[in-house]
Structure formats: structure tokens, C-alpha cells
């Protein structure tokens, strides 16, 4: 480890709260910015950049470069110097800003998830970035960078305090033990990506479109302008996804769910219990024969939405049982790949085919005492589960054409800004559902766990 990786000494701040600084390599990261801007400019306009550079004398160039680097280093140093953070009993406080001061107080019991991210470069330096997801904030609430050990300790402390351990013990509780639930082998991940239609569509498009364009227009700019973004998209959807989802592990600890993944950039996420708003089980057509599914989840304020990139159905259902305690996945009993019938899910009435011609068969609905589950899609089937306790409001909509055929849509909205729809239900059924769902969402909340899940 870097010998300099000693945290800047704790410094007593206002109110007896210990304020800490970030890791000393942080300024280096900020020094990147001007270099990146210069490089970006040179790449964007190579001819112009070359002419400008040639016009300047060597001395001016060197001087300018040195000045830029010094200024960047100074800026980086100052921003580092003026960034403090402190953990109090109920809050995490971040003070930052040289000219424009910014103080963020993050309430720990409202913490939605804590991520420890390590970009490739940071891994060499032994530092990590700590990111807090809170509803309604932007990505600014991150601590970059901390040394690996500090990041892990701070995460443990934040989670312990968020869980409601007494303040004296919070620092000693330490990292909660992790029980591994799922590990996605690289081979399975690669095969699953190869079996995804989108990957192929993008690769084919990236390979086919530029030659066609070249033959029809003979314009280099157009071919490059369209071909490069296509190639980029194909790359991110195949290689990029593989790299990101490589070595995917899902673990369970008293702190919540642990998601560790990444080939180059390592990411470790922790989602405290009771934060998951919706869970989606996605089943692309080509995966069905193997019985694989992808599980996605929505946490309010979090950007990541993948829970398990690929796993056999039984395993996925088991994981969902852990994420949403006491939840049985509707239709889980159905044999994978047995056709369009999926267990307990009820289909819309047959007259719904006048509203949505072919796809009406893909829609389905199941309501258990814990979740509201809907399915849509024929080829790529998606089953969405919303726990009743997370429902924010219920809506019934009906257009003129739908009313003529006696069907209506029921929408359920959750705090993660997702709206889940049970489409094409019989009108009377939809009306009953609306009432019942409102009742269930109210009673469901009473039995839910408190925000401070370990509070004495």
C-alpha cells in the first residue's frame, strides 16, 4: 500500500465533532481536469490545435503548460484542503468548496444505499470512493477518495449508525459478516450476453451500417459520425456490460444486501433492508430454454438497478425472497420454458385483444398479501413486483376505446419514480383492485420494518 496512505490527522471541528479530511491523493484526481480539457480540444479539432501549437514558441508552450499544471495542482490542493467530513450521531456532514461553500448534512436514517467504488486507477493507489444514495440529491454526495481501509470502516460505521446502534458502540461494531448468496460465473455471464438479442442487433448494426452508408454517400464524415457511436453502443452493451458485471456477487449481511462486481472498476454496494421499492424479473426469449432470468431492482435515489445479471430461476427467486422478506414470487411454480402460462398470474379478459392486438396475452397480474405483481411482454417477459408497503398512490385510467371493451389500466406508483401498470383488467375488477390496493398499501406499511432496522 502507498506509504502516504495515512489519513490526515483528525481535527477537532465545531461542536466537538471530529472532522476528517479525504485521502491526500485526492488532489491528483482534480489535476486531471485541465489536461483532459486540453486533450479533448486537441482531439476535437486536430488541425486547429496543431496550427495553434506550432504558432507558439517553445518557451511559451512550456511556461503555459507549467502554469496550467501548477494552477491545477493548487486548485486540487485547495479543494482538498477545504473539504471536510464528519459523522455525528444522526448525520453525515460534508463541508466543501473554496469560493462557494457547500455544506451537506445527510440524515443517516434516510440513507438508501452506500457504495464503495474503485476505478481502475484508484485500485493501483489503494484508494476508494464512498458514495451515498439519498432521495432527491445529485451525485455530489460522495467522498472521493479515502484509503481502502478507511472507506470500509466508514461504510461500516455509517451503516451501524443508520441501523440505530448506540453511538459508543457504532465505531466498534465493524464490518458485518457477509453470507454469500449468489456468484455469477464469468462463463455464464458471457453466454447470457451472447444470447441477448440487443447485443447482436447493435453489433450487426455497427458492422453493417457504415459500409452501406459509404456505398450510398461516399462521405467520410457521415460514416464516421454514425459508425463510431454505433460501435461505441455495441461495445458498451457487450464488452462494457461484461466488464461491469464480471464476478458479480450478491451477499447478505445484517447491514443489508451486498453487491460486489467489476473487472476493472470494482464496485461494492450496500442496500440496507427495507429500501427496495420494486423488483423486476426479466426473461429474454433466448434465455428461457436455459431457465435463466435477470433480476433488477429499484432503490430510491440509486442509479444502479441490477440485482443479479443472470441466474437460474430458482436461485433468483431465492434471492428475491431474501430481498423482500416474506414474499413469494407469483408464478414461480411454473416450469421454466413451459409456454406462455405462468402459474398464478391471471391474464386480461379475451376481449382485451381489441385494445392491444397481440401483446395482450403477455399481460398478467397477481396480487398476494405482500406484493402487487404484474407481467408484460411476450418475447422478453418482465415480471414486476411492488411490495404493498411501498405503494405511494394508485391510479386507474381508462380511455374511450378501452371503456367500450370494458377494460381499464391500474397504475401503482412507488417512491423510486417508477410506475407499475396492470394493464387491461376488467373494469369492475380494476375498480375493486383500486380500492383494495389503497387499503393494502396502508396496512402493509404498518407491518414494515422501521427505518432504523437494528434500533433497540
Amino acid at each position: 500500500m502507498n506509504p502516504k496512505a495515512v489519513n490526515a490527522g483528525p481535527e477537532a471541528g465545531a461542536g466537538g465533532v471530529v472532522e476528517r479530511r479525504l485521502h491526500p491523493v485526492t488532489p491528483l484526481r482534480r489535476a486531471w481536469a485541465p489536461l483532459a480539457v486540453g486533450a479533448g480540444w486537441a482531439v476535437h479539432d486536430p488541425d486547429g490545435a496543431y496550427r495553434r501549437v506550432a504558432d507558439l514558441a517553445v518557451e511559451t508552450l512550456l511556461l503555459g503548460g507549467a502554469g496550467l499544471v501548477v494552477a491545477a495542482a493548487l486548485y486540487g490542493f485547495l479543494t482538498w484542503w477545504f473539504t471536510h467530513f464528519a459523522v455525528t450521531e444522526t448525520e453525515l456532514r460534508i463541508r466543501t468548496g473554496l469560493l462557494f461553500r457547500r455544506t451537506a448534512h445527510i440524515r443517516l436514517d434516510r440513507l438508501q444505499a452506500v457504495d464503495v467504488n474503485q476505478p481502475l486507477l484508484a485500485r493501483f493507489l489503494g484508494v476508494a470512493k464512498l458514495k451515498m444514495d439519498v432521495i432527491g440529491t445529485d451525485s455530489k454526495d460522495e467522498l472521493a477518495y479515502l484509503s481502502e481501509r478507511d472507506a470500509a470502516a466508514l461504510r461500516a460505521e455509517l451503516l451501524a449508525r443508520a441501523a440505530g446502534f448506540a453511538p459508543e458502540t457504532a465505531q466498534e461494531v465493524g464490518e458485518a459478516p457477509v453470507a454469500n448468496l449468489v456468484h455469477v460465473p464469468p462463463r455464464q455471464l458471457a453466454v447470457s450476453l451472447l444470447l441477448t438479442g440487443r447485443t447482436w442487433a447493435l453489433v450487426v448494426a455497427a458492422l453493417a451500417v457504415p459500409p452501406v452508408l459509404w456505398l450510398t454517400t461516399h462521405s467520410v464524415g457521415l460514416v464516421l459520425g454514425i459508425g463510431l457511436p454505433l460501435l461505441g453502443a455495441a461495445g458498451t452493451s457487450s464488452v462494457g456490460r461484461f466488464v461491469k458485471e464480471y464476478d458479480w456477487r450478491v451477499g447478505e449481511s445484517p447491514d443489508g444486501l451486498r453487491l460486489d462486481h467489476g473487472l476493472l472498476d470494482k464496485e461494492h454496494e450496500t442496500v440496507p433492508p427495507g429500501r427496495v421499492q420494486t423488483v423486476r424479473i426479466v426473461e429474454p426469449l433466448l434465455w428461457r430454454r436455459r431457465g435463466w432470468v435477470r433480476v433488477e431492482l429499484d432503490v430510491a435515489g440509486s442509479s444502479n438497478s441490477v440485482l443479479v445479471p443472470v441466474a437460474p430461476r430458482e436461485l433468483a427467486v431465492a434471492v428475491i425472497g431474501r430481498v423482500l422478506p416474506g414474499v413469494t414470487v407469483p408464478g414461480a411454480g411454473a416450469v421454466a420454458g413451459a409456454g406462455t402460462e405462468a402459474g398464478a398470474l391471471s391474464r386480461p379478459p379475451a376481449r382485451a385483444k381489441w385494445c392491444v392486438p397481440v401483446w395482450w396475452r403477455g399481460h398478467g397480474l397477481a396480487v398476494t398479501d405482500t406484493v402487487f405483481g404484474t407481467r408484460h411482454g411476450l418475447l422478453r417477459r418482465t415480471l414486476t413486483l411492488v411490495p404493498h408497503a411501498k405503494v405511494q398512490s394508485v391510479r386507474l385510467t381508462q380511455g374511450p376505446w378501452q371503456r367500450r371493451h370494458g377494460v381499464a389500466d391500474v397504475h401503482v406508483e412507488t417512491g423510486a419514480n417508477t410506475s407499475v401498470a396492470a394493464r387491461l383488467r376488467d373494469t369492475t375488477e380494476a375498480r375493486l383492485l383500486l380500492q383494495a390496493q389503497a387499503d393494502r398499501s396502508r396496512t402493509g406499511r404498518r407491518t414494515a420494518r422501521p427505518d432504523r432496522w437494528m434500533a433497540p
Partner: protein, 143 residues
């Protein structure tokens, strides 16, 4: 509310009709001026439509949630449990104030929740706001 919306309709369509009639009549010949009938037709069609839409708005304070119903052709019914309300907003623009109106909007943690009650009497809006906040506090449930 109905008067306001009808007034707005008249304000938009009448000048449009006049402009279309005069401009086309002068520059393109009297036959083209018939296009002025379009906005007039719109006015005649929109007048009863607004009335129907206005009559369709309904809200009910129930024991544990607020129910809002609206729409004639595209019907929508929204149920918001009191415990889920994050904030209640009463709005009243200059034109609305002139007509003695205010609208009330509920926000939950889900941005998709669109629960608005337009065209209330300001006193009723305030009463509703206070009552909803009170009920919301009593049943607060968070996320």
C-alpha cells in the same frame, strides 16, 4: 373555473377567427376567408366539452385516503393515502385570483403521482390543505 376556461377558449379562438378571416379575405380572396369558420367551429365544439370536463372533476376525502376522479373520455381515478403525502400546495395565479379560484396539488415521494384539484374556492382550498396536512401528520408513513 368553468367560466375561466370558457373565457380562455373565447379569448384564443375569437382573435384567431378574426385574424384568419380578415387576412385571408384581404390577401387570398373571400373564398379563403371561410377558414375563419375553423376556430369558430372549435369554439362551438369546445364550449360544451369544457362543461362536461368541468362536471367530471370530483374529489372525496375518505377515512384514510383522498380520491380524485376526472375525465369524460379518458377517465382517471387517483387514490392517495394520507400517510403518503409529502407536501400539499395551494396555487392561485393572477387570472385565477380574479375569478376567486385556487388549485390544490398533492405531492408524494413518487413524482408520477399527479393529484391536482383545480378550481377550488380559496377558502375550501385552505381548509382542505390544513385538513390534509393534519391527517398526513397523524398517519405519516414515509417511503
Amino acid at each position: 373555473m368553468l367560466t375561466l376556461r370558457r373565457l380562455l377558449l373565447v379569448l384564443w379562438t375569437v382573435p384567431l377567427a378574426v385574424a384568419a378571416g380578415v387576412l385571408l379575405g384581404v390577401f387570398a380572396g373571400p373564398a379563403w376567408a371561410a377558414f375563419a369558420a375553423l376556430p369558430v367551429g372549435l369554439l362551438l365544439w369546445g364550449w360544451p366539452l369544457l362543461g362536461r370536463n368541468w362536471r367530471s372533476w370530483r374529489y372525496a376525502e375518505r377515512a384514510d385516503d383522498l380520491l380524485i376522479q376526472r375525465g369524460v373520455l379518458w377517465r382517471e381515478e387517483t387514490v392517495v393515502p394520507y400517510g403518503r403525502m409529502q407536501l400539499v400546495e395551494v396555487q392561485s395565479g393572477p387570472l385565477q385570483r380574479k375569478f376567486g379560484l385556487a388549485s390544490l396539488q398533492l405531492h408524494t415521494a413518487a413524482a408520477a403521482t399527479d393529484a391536482t384539484v383545480p378550481g377550488l374556492d380559496p377558502r375550501e382550498a385552505e381548509r382542505l390543505r390544513d385538513r390534509l396536512t393534519e391527517l398526513g401528520e397523524a398517519r405519516s408513513a414515509g417511503l
